[in-house]
Amino acid sequence: MLKSIQQLGSTTINRVNEVGQAGVFILKTLIRIPRPIRSFPLLMQELYSVGVLSLPIIIVSALFIGMVVSLQGYNVLSKFSASEELGQLVALSVVRELGPVVSALLFAGRAGSALTAEIGLMKTTEQLASMEMMGVDPLWKIISPRFWAGIISMPLLSMIFCAVAIFGGYMVGVHWLGVDNGAFWNNMQNSVDFRLDIVNGVIKSVVFGCLVTWIAVFQGFATVPTAEGIGLATTRSVVYASLAVLGFDFVLTALMMGGW
């Protein structure tokens, strides 16, 4: 009994310690004099590997999710003879929730895991240590461009996700199930509010981008330098990032809907 309480205590202390370390790590990365001319090519390179290369999975998933939401929604709405409201249902569920959350989960699986594995391998093969011994700070050279690339890409990917999902919903609703084209778009325009829905969705995706990339780069940097260590760090990166996204989604939604 005493032993298990002791274990619980030590695990809790370790976890809190880890969060503290992650906080110090990201502060050290962010608090430095910006060098825009030297950083720009690095940032562009990372935007490509983190953002552009995530596009296929985001677009394909968004298309299917939009189609499924439309199909399910039509099924329910038609029972109440309200199938014209399908545009509203698809748009609101995608813009408010599915867009930011699903794209962040996909981003954690695609880009987050790649970032962790890449940085972890750099640590294991002493590339980070050699950089430090050359007098080049890896936090500036390796971590910072990846972190900013994550924050910039996430909202853009989320917006693309929303647009493609709505298109998928439109294809199924209007072209397959026969919902009136005008009613579909008109209901959507009337119900989606720019500030309450779209801006809040973008805010969510910025927060998720920050969380996912932060967790990914920290897990990579804190990897135990062995093959097993990289595997563990990558798994942890995806699991922690997914849980953080879902947890923060609830908190953010509660805060955003508080005034409604």
């Binding site: 590339q127 050359m134 007098g135 080049v136």
Partner: protein
């Protein structure tokens, strides 16, 4: 501080996970010479290089490098100091996403504002020194272990450092690569007027080029001197290590209960 010494270490103590890696160690490295730190695996030889490079901080003791009090340096000063140090890692540690040329150009691009044509000339000079000018467009994955180490050496000397640290440079090398590396380390040290520290457990190769050797064991320096002096050393540990004897103060058998008891359990 003696002006002949580039590095002076006094009463250095360092522990890891409750185990003392170094216990009140005194050591000095002479300018322009090749000094070897030798000892079996796990005695903290690499840790010593990390302490010299400021990657680790000692529990107590002093470590002066050319006027810098390394453990007390601010992050900024430490990075300044490191520009004057080259280090060859055991794993070569080449940047896998950059070509051989870009790997060698990396420190020049980071720390100097030289024009592209000057960087080109310098990189080619460094690669020529290690015999790999023709391999400049290859990626690290296309290099053999020996070639990778030579590229890493070219990168380490890119900024003409005052001090070169070699971490197990001969481990895992075939005899030809080993011979090339031995020759290169000696040639670069003499031609560029550097001071070199080699951490190694390859006795004949290291002894053939070292001016002075420290033998480390159990957190202490158990022997030191020129290679010839150490060959004659009477310390049983130094004798066993330098002559590669399978049994002695470091026993062949891992501690266990008696063989008879174990068999007739």
């Amino acid at each position: 501080m003696d002006t002949d010494n580039l590095i002076e270490i006094k009463n250095l103590t360092f522990s890891r996970d409750g185990r003392k890696i170094f216990d009140n160690v005194d050591l000095s490295i002479k300018k322009g010479k090749i000094t070897a730190i030798m000892g079996p695996s796990g005695t903290g030889k690499t840790t010593l290089l990390q302490l010299i490079g400021g990657a680790l901080k000692p529990e107590h003791g002093e470590l002066h490098l050319n006027g810098y009090n390394v453990p007390k340096l601010s992050r900024k000063k430490l990075y300044e100091m490191r520009k004057r140090i080259g280090m060859l890692f055991q794993s070569s540690a080449l940047f896998t996403n950059l070509s051989v040329y870009e790997n060698v150009a990396f420190p020049l691009r980071e720390h100097t504002k030289l024009s592209e044509s000057l960087i080109y000339d310098l990189v080619l000079m460094k690669l020529e020194a290690v015999g790999l000018r023709g391999a400049r467009n290859l990626m690290p994955s296309q290099l053999s272990g020996g070639m990778a180490r030579r590229v890493a050496l070219a990168r380490a000397i890119a900024l003409d450092p005052e001090l070169m640290l070699y971490d197990e440079p001969f481990t895992g090398q075939d005899p030809i690569s080993m011979g090339v590396l031995v020759k290169l380390i000696k040639k670069l040290n003499d031609a560029l007027g550097m001071t070199s520290i080699i951490v190694s457990h390859d006795v004949p190769e290291t002894a053939s080029i070292a001016d002075y050797i420290y033998v480390v064991s159990g957190g202490k320096i158990v022997g030191s001197g020129s290679p010839d002096v150490l060959q004659q050393d009477d310390n049983p540990y130094v004798k066993q290590f330098i002559h590669g004897l399978p049994d002695g103060v470091v026993p062949f058998h891992y501690p266990a209960q008696s063989y008879q008891d174990d068999i007739l359990r």
